[in-house]
Amino acid sequence: MRRWSRSAVVVTAMVATGALLASCGAGGEREEAPAEGSTVGITEDTVTIGGHFPLTGVAAAGYSEIPTGHKAYYDYVNANGGVHGRNIEFVVRDDAYNPTNTSQVTNELVLDDEIFAMVSGLGTPTHGAVVDFLNDEKVPDLFVSSGSLQWGDKPKERPFTFGWQPDYEIEGKILGDYVKKNMPDAKVGLFLQDDDFGRDAEKGVRRFLDDQIVDVQRYTSGNTDVAPQIAALQASGADLVLGFTTPSYTALSQLVALRLRYQPKWFYSNVGSDPALVGSLLAQFSEGAVKGGAQLLDGVMTTEYIPGTDAPEDPWMRLWQKVWDAHGDGEELTNYRVYGMSQAYTFVQALQAAGPNPTREGIVEAVERAGGDFEGPALAPFRFSSDSHMGVSGMQLVELKGGVGEELTPVLVSDIGDAPIDEDDSAASDSPPENGIPDQETVE
């Protein structure tokens, strides 16, 4: 017995030493070629990327259409020769807007599908569950579909993650500034989603409107009874309600306001104000009171940062329509698909900038160095640099009329914190290239 255990010790020691040597060897190899970087997901003729989206469940309304926009644009690019000769393959996985599922499907994407980069993973709570994993694994985590600050305000801690859309704080700031200047007597009520979305926005709004706010109400996503919250806003006497809500809750709050005959001026964040989607949710109620769904949103203020379906003559919209007609799934072109195609456009720019031999590290560096100058559909430039991974820097306020946004302000740009708010329409005049595919130079 003792003899056996002695030999066991020897064997164990040998195995351990071997393993140690092997791991030293592995480490040595990695150190020898640091400049090469990781090329997982890249082959001679393909680049495989992935994303997590809610294709089912509470958040699927609208959001499930975003990946279809991505796919249509990648198909269009692939049909025109791809990027540096490679076709883009986009793997979409359903997380049902549940962070537990997001962790699981991200594991599958990174470890099984071996994606080169995560592109446009959707949702604050969902993506928040995987952002550290992606950075630990050094997987580029590009253009998250959420306006939370955490994707871009600390690039040192999360070097591989980049935002895309304007963050909720600058939306709050730009809105707060407008209300302060144009509606100084308004009694402001806030109707917020009880997570980063509402908190970041509130931070921005309070910079300007702290003394005008009479009440703040928060709803928990998943609890569809918002009557007590709207009743409290009504009781507080608020005559301007700023809603930072998802589309379903925009519709729900409008329904409850109808029931309570509460008629303040409404603002909804661009996240939850899509007139087509909210209108379609409300359209059914025509038997009671609402005539056309979209008309119920007449007079509602919101923000815009990319051209949408309400401006079919915009050159970008004509491009998206062309792409969608050729590569879409036959359904109607919606603002969510436009959003997806706009993101896909930015990814193609990033991949071009990373050059003919892209690596995971290389594409991150390319976006940091060239991303601030990417010309695209967004009305304001990106803030990408080595100090900031925040996305689009501005937007304009509009008022909805018959489902179309009418300008209230020019394009206003800002940044988080106490950065000033300035007019800047330099990016608004970007027009798409002839062939609809960006021509971004390789970052040397």
């Binding site: 007590p228 729900l252 379609s280 009671g288």
Partner: protein, 292 residues
């Protein structure tokens, strides 16, 4: 004052929906001694049946009737072809089975009807009534909700207390073997119990959907609160289910309006624990009396 009034009225309407759902759970419990967690997706499916008909241009009431009828059929089918084959002596097996059904029906609905939100019309106005300058947060549909749930309770009490069928159903739930010896066709009674419960469940689905948004998991919140309401009332008593539903609806509405909506589900748990600590059998339980 207006806010309190609004919050209470909202709670009242919501409580009635919970009550309707709790009634369905109580019915199945009385008929078969099973807690049916699949009640929520069954009601969701039948609500979609109504929605499909209404969207095809038929009247609201035709959709309403079709949903109740399909509830009746679905309940009977589930009992006859699924639940019947589980060993009734085990308490946990049927419960696990209903949870399994929950998931299957969910996925089925997402496949057939799609997972997106759709709005569901209401047969009456959605604006609150106006008395002088004050708006009463009660819509025509809210009143319809309250009245229809009260009607269902009365009908159920009549059924169980004053009819032969009701007595047979209770007998076969209480002791199948003895009931069979006395000439009750137990199998039929069980099927009937499930069918009736599914009708009541369908009603609660239609009531909560009316003037709101429908998607495959729209009943999931209701199954939790409806279950709590049923347990509050003692799981055995229709009147208790309604009382439980009202208590829950009103208090959750108050919590949501005055404390914070993030505490709603926690409050439901607190109420449940408090009631069970004081009266373990539920507020309207008669178990103790029987033992004496």
């Amino acid at each position: 004052m207006q806010q309190l009034f609004t919050t209470l009225l909202t709670g009242l309407t919501l409580g009635m929906v919970y009550a309707a759902f709790a009634l369905a759970l109580v019915l199945i419990w009385r008929a078969t001694r099973i807690v049916n967690f699949a009640q929520a997706p069954m009601a969701m499916l039948t609500t979609y049946v109504a929605l499909v008909l209404i969207e095809a241009g038929y009247s609201y009431w035709l959709g309403f009737a079709a949903a109740l009828l399909s509830g009746l059929v679905l309940g009977a089918l589930v009992e006859r072809f699924v639940i019947r084959y589980v060993d009734p002596r085990s308490e946990i097996n049927p419960v696990i089975l209903t949870l399994g059904l929950f998931i299957v029906l969910h996925a089925l609905a997402a496949l057939v009807f799609g997972a997106r939100y759709r709005s569901f019309p209401a047969p009456f106005g959605l604006r609150g009534f106006q008395v002088g300058d004050t708006t009463i947060a009660l819509t025509g549909f809210g009143i319809f909700t309250i009245l229809s749930v009260l009607a269902v309770v009365v009908l159920l009490v009549l059924l169980f207390r004053y009819t032969d069928v009701g007595l047979k159903m209770r007998a076969s739930a209480f002791n199948q073997e003895v009931a069979r010896l006395l000439g009750v066709r137990v199998g039929r009674m069980l099927t009937l119990g499930w069918a009736l419960a599914a009708v009541v469940g369908s009603l609660s689905g239609l009531l909560i959907a009316g003037g709101g948004l429908v998607h495959p998991s729209f009943m999931d919140g209701v199954v939790v609160y409806g279950f709590v309401a049923a347990v509050l009332g003692g799981l055995d008593s229709p009147v208790g289910a309604v009382a439980g539903g009202l208590i829950l609806g009103l208090s959750l509405s108050l919590v949501s309006g005055y404390v914070g909506s993030q505490l709603v589900s926690l409050a439901a748990l607190a109420i449940l624990m408090a009631v069970l600590l004081v009266r373990p059998g539920g507020l309207f339980a008669r178990v103790r009396e029987r033992r004496v």
